[in-house]
């Protein structure tokens, strides 16, 4: 990057504020190949009931951070804690039973199964609670109830995203991780995703979302992180970040100024 004077997150203040968080990650270093780290000391926390948005330019490590939290990327050093328990590098299926829900960016539904079967898959580790959770999800996404017998593969992008979110909610997660839920959708459907995410959060689920639509994401977030080169470069309330010229600079370079 051209500029080096970008202030980073004040780590001590961040650590103090992270106290009592439902999910927190400290100083994560992780990557896909040995010796090539994508995360270079990323910090993050999410309090009970909070909606946290993560934005940043391509390649900043947003999705990798989310995958590391969910055990899909091996963490080299650093810790992830869920309600105080160390869950660093635990398997994804274990994390699901412990209360983390994850919605990947792509391939997040079973196309040959019906909507209802997709939701059943979400709760296969706890089949007895299907009925109760199905009602919860149905209330959030009534359109899915209407089409419950339809094959998920025949749905449009926006609906698939609802199915994927619905499935992740079937296990009653304490934290829901969303990886770019609005990617590839039209503006109206993107807005729908943000509205639905806010409603899920209002229903009591803590949410951490990675997003490419930065301003919408920051608008609905209680707090945001801006990632750059594998670290959490800035954090603040959504409103603070949305107006910060440095955030724009991260996306578009130095705007032709020195």
């Amino acid at each position: 990057m051209a500029e080096t004077d970008t202030p980073t997150v004040d780590r001590s203040a961040h650590l103090a504020a992270a106290d009592g968080a439902v999910l927190r990650a400290d100083n994560l270093i992780a990557g896909y190949l040995p010796g090539v780290n994508i995360l270079n000391g990323a910090d993050l926390y999410c309090h009970e009931g909070e909606l946290v948005g993560i934005i940043g330019p391509n390649g900043a490590g947003k999705s990798t951070l989310l995958k590391a939290l969910f055990g899909l990327v091996k963490i080299g050093s650093g810790t992830v804690k869920l309600k105080g328990d160390d869950i660093t590098n635990e398997r994804a299926d274990t994390l699901v039973t412990k209360g983390i829900g994850f919605v990947p960016q792509t391939n997040n539904i079973f196309p040959s199964l019906t909507i209802q079967e997709n939701l059943e898959m979400g709760v296969y580790q706890r089949p007895a609670s299907f009925k109760k959770r199905f009602e919860f999800v149905g209330e959030l996404f009534p359109a899915l109830l209407d089409r419950r017998g339809q094959r998920a593969g025949s749905l449009s992008g926006g609906e698939r995203q609802m199915v994927a979110m619905g499935r992740a909610l079937m296990m009653e997660p304490s934290v829901l991780l969303l990886d770019e839920p609005s990617a590839g959708l039209s503006p109206v459907l993107q807005d729908e995703v943000f509205v639905q995410t806010r409603r899920i959060n209002r229903a009591g689920v803590s949410v951490i979302m990675v997003e490419q639509n930065a301003s919408r994401c920051l608008q609905i977030s209680d707090r945001g992180y801006v990632m750059d080169q594998g670290t959490s470069a800035y954090t603040g309330t959504g409103r603070e970040l949305i107006k910060d010229p440095k955030v724009i600079e991260l996306y578009l370079g130095t705007l032709g100024k020195k």
């Binding site: 990057m1 926006g158 109206v188 509205v195």
Partner: protein, 334 residues
């Protein structure tokens, strides 16, 4: 092998050699300075366009991925096509190069219409592309990959292939050219290695070198910097610039803004399938429409709780429409 190569005669091989040679006879500096007079608006007319597209539309079900009213690419310069994820850049590339068909629209290269021209013919006409995820032939050697890139070979026919004397001299000439390009792209040491054994950055180089085997007038690069390590980036940048300096037109898609700023003469910005801005790099990156495109547009105001229901209703209507459209498409295709 490269040593004796230089002594081999080959009349048609001189074109794409040293960067100082101008392969196409285009006055590069004139082409670049001509851009100063171009209006900085989407769809601006260029003084000497090599590629012109009109009313290009591509829909996937209910989603309009590309909806470009008009665009012209200036000959002899480096044009960057940028935009946030999902803006339709690669889809637009695929449409222009015949790898995908638009629902409607017309486009032409050097005033030849490219409607319904298949990809392989597009490349023979002098418009060659590379891919974001490289498509080297991994079970062939580097030099074999290069030779596959040569076009219009006499030995291609079933009949002529049997008579080596018909094509041997041409094959030799192609090999000379391939070796020169491998030298230039620092791949000559890998000549006999399987392409599958190359690193990601080397594959990008090989793809670029192979594209040059067709001696193209227009080189289209889809994210040349993606997955390339920082050490190789500088040399890749140099290679792209040298393409321009030898008179080729370059159009590239890229996310690396430093690269865009560094080497582009002109920048075209896409968002939601449309062209939202055009201009020189600095002007474009300070353009509010571009900042909106990257950070999300028209979003200065919050979604109020009252608006939520309205948005959901609109979304539902759009989903209904897309089902309808998909249904009709199924119907049409029988």
């Amino acid at each position: 092998m490269p040593a004796d190569v230089t002594t081999t005669p080959g009349g048609n091989t001189s074109a794409a050699q040293a960067p100082s040679d101008n392969a196409t006879g285009v006055d590069v500096s004139a082409a670049r300075s001509a851009l100063n007079d171009v209006e900085q608006v989407p769809g601006a007319a260029k003084p000497d366009p090599i590629l012109v597209a009109d009313g290009i539309k591509r829909q996937f079900g209910g989603l309009t991925a590309v909806d470009v009213e008009h665009v012209e690419i200036q000959r002899g310069v480096i044009t960057a096509l940028i935009g946030p994820n999902g803006a339709g850049k690669t889809t637009f590339f695929n449409l222009l190069t015949g790898f995908d068909r638009p629902n409607e629209g017309t486009w032409s290269f050097n005033d030849h219409s490219l409607n319904k021209v298949p990809a392989y013919k597009v490349s023979r006409m002098g418009m060659v592309r590379t891919f974001q995820l490289t498509k080297v032939l991994s079970k062939m050697t580097v030099i074999e990959n290069m030779l596959v890139g040569a076009t219009g070979q006499r030995g291609e026919g079933l009949f002529s292939a049997m008579f080596a004397f018909l094509w041997r001299s041409e094959e030799d000439a192609n090999t000379v050219r391939a070796d020169d390009l491998l030298e230039r792209f620092l791949l000559i040491k890998k000549r006999e290695d399987f392409a599958g054994s190359l690193s990601g950055g080397q594959r990008k180089l090989l793809e670029m070198a192979r594209a040059l085997m067709a001696n193209p007038e227009l080189v289209m690069l889809d994210e040349p910097m993606a997955g390339v390590n920082p050490a190789l980036k500088q040399s890749l940048l140099g290679h792209v610039k040298s393409l321009r300096d030898e008179g080729r037109t370059v159009l590239f898609v890229e996310h690396d803004m430093d690269m865009v700023r560094d080497i582009s003469d002109w920048v075209i910005v896409m968002a939601q399938g449309q062209i939202v801005a055009e201009g020189p790099p600095d002007a474009v990156m300070a353009n509010p429409a571009v900042i909106d495109a990257y950070l999300g547009s028209h979003h200065d105001q919050d979604i109020s709780e009252e608006e939520e229901d309205q948005i959901l209703a609109e979304a539902n209507a759009e989903i209904e429409r897309s089902h309808e459209a998909a249904h009709q498409e199924d119907h049409r295709r029988g």
